[in-house]
Amino acid sequence: MARIILTDSLSKRFTGGDNDFEIVASSVRSLIRELDSLYPGLGAQVNDGTLSVAIDGDIYQDAFLEELNPDSEVAFLPKIGGG
């Protein structure tokens, strides 16, 4: 079960405030599908290019194909730019 962490902004909008939960998914792509079926709209939201994904502490700017381990931690966060 991958551990999913959402920002408050996302969880308030899509999950009724739950910002730390578990989902079975083998890749970011399948995770997006799962999220969308559990919380309609959330999958599309996390896949629209506005978010980064931190998988086990590493930030991915445009995650899609990345594989997940059964105990992976997946945190969705605003996309990071810089100066």
């Binding site: 920002t7 629209d48 290019g49 995650a63 966060l77 605003p78 730019g81 100066g83």
Partner: protein, 759 residues
Amino acid sequence: MSSERREYKWVGTRQIRPDGHDKVTGRAKFGSDFSLSGMIHGRVLRSPHAHALIKSIDTSKAEALPGVKAVITSKDFKDQPSELKPAGEGMVNYRDMTRNVMAREKVLYDGHAVAAVAATTVEIAESALKLIDVKYEVLPHVIDVDEAMKDGSPILDDKMIPIGYDTKNPTNIAKHVEFSLGDTDEGFAAADVVIERTYKTESVHQGYIEPHAVVASVSEDGQAQIWCCTQGQFMVRTFVGQLLGMPTSSIRVTPSEIGGGFGGKTVVYLEPLATLLSSKVGKPVKMIMTREEVFRASGPTSGGSMDFKIGATNEGKITAVTGTVRLLAGAFPGAPVAPACMCAVAPYDIPNVHIQGYDVLVNRPKVAAYRAPGAPISAFGAESIVDELAKELGMDPLKLRKLNAAKKGTKAAYGPTFRDIGYEETIDLAMDHDHYKAPLGPNQGRGVASGFWFNIGGESSATVNINEDGTAVVISGNPDIGGSRASLAMMAAEELGIEYSDVRPIIGDTAAIGYNFLTGGSRVTFATGLAVVEAAKDAVRQLCERAAKIWEVDADGVVWDDGHAKPASSNVGEFEPLSLAALAAQAAKTGGPICGHNAQNVQGAGPGFATHICDVEVDPETGNVSVLRYTAVQDVGRAIHPSYVEGQIQGGAVQGIGWALNEEYIYSSNGTLENTGFLDYRIPVASDMPMIEAVMVECPNDRHPYGVRGVGEVPLVPPLAAVANAVENATGVRMEALPISPPRLLAALDSSNIKQAAE
């Protein structure tokens, strides 16, 4: 990918930069140094009002002036849909962008572009601007972030739909974000000490010495060439294409040398105007901003106000932090409010955190990125209140930070769990440094502060071409803002096993190399560096294949060692090693040119942490603050070129000192900017500063073959609070608002003296 420390020939040494000779002799071509035959000149008419409806624009007199070739206004740009799209630095809304490069219904800040003229000379273009008749209906304006959030404030965009902010009434709040961890009520309940404070910072400009400049040339068949100073030639191509409705293949952007950016050149201002003017006139058009235009119309970073509350046990364990950060966005949404919230307390392992932020419109130029966007602002608040906590607890401020330091396995309040990070090491080195133990004199004080930035990777392409004489060319696609060509060439030389001086790194235009995300976020040496290393490995693989063909053995029987192909073992056969030069000389006979290439979306940037120590002396008569000594300790992963890493740290620290002590925008009651030059907008000068000691901690990032972390952003995060904490230590007066300029500090000292006298 491993980053075990092996002996390197080039990585970690201090080589002469490949572009250096051109830059010390005046040969290097910066943005305004480029010219074409037949070129004419463009100038921009800018709003004199902070907020006004544009009732009409009459350009007929300007067009009639001899020498004027074209005049454009917003009518010449098609409108754009309002939607967020990933492009450039994160998300852009082209509806806002087209309005920022040329005002449409309204002008939203003093300096907002209203029209542009192309004429045979700059003088004629400037004369023509005076002949353009714009009728305005002046509207009430708002400059201050807190004022802009109040009910009844003038509204900049009554059609704006805020993100994450529930309101039915028009508002200047464009976005609300929230991050939390644990339960802050429980955290504060467990605290022995609770402190609450409000802090404020002013908007500051990136202050690059080179104004924005562009030459655009559109030919009759619609092919556009653009030469400009930018942090991202691909970003310019995307934005100009979108704003002008041109296919990407018709636009070729060549980045000039860039005279500083710090985030401020991650957007477009003049490029779409010059391109449109050129397409109308059929001649190349050059446009250069004046310094006044740079201040009035190009992106500063946000100013902000913020509330922080911190709770801790008597032993110094922080139990909870809450924060609210309000950042001004300027005229269009896009303040760096999310990273401000995410970075504020990232250096600490705190079980209960809640931080929220607001992105707020005001009648100022739209903000642009500035080194670690948002983080210096929120860190000023967070690191000031951590200092207050240390004082309240009677603890050494570094010991307090060490006790609460984030480390491997700490779950950050913004979501992920940290892997290997070097924050504690920066505290340890700061505590052990001579500086931290040096005695202080009267009116002198010492402050410390820490800072965090994520660092980023991103899309990167690189080519390594092996030349016929055994030298190499490295083509990458990121403007070199502070020595990155040297670092890329050093990594390529290391991989190829040839001399550094035999590697020529060049920066390709948009037609010469695959897509590259712009120079920003401390990504180039890390991400483009990784692409260069992979491209060099690709070339090495081809070189080994050529040796295998020559020796008539299997390719996997050949290894690359110190610039030579060698048999992997004696089983392969006895062959004299073949040098890169020898293989290059035979390339035509063994398969043709040897060109290594790599393109990927690089992930795995290593977070950066820093801890700074600042000593100041305060003149109680004038309120002047002199920085006496400054030490900046930073985890750099691994320094490819230590001199340029030190330079990033030193330069960032001094920018932060300027932010803390002097820099601010001064607006008149009409909302016009009053300090539009370097005399009145005072960035640090040489005589203001001491030497800045850069101490590099090397905790390698195992996601990069040489262990690189980004280094450019973090140094700007700690200085604001380090300076303020030092001033408090010197005077006993806590400056909760920046800048700590002489009149402000003098007023604070005077009122503190009056208070003390009264007690």
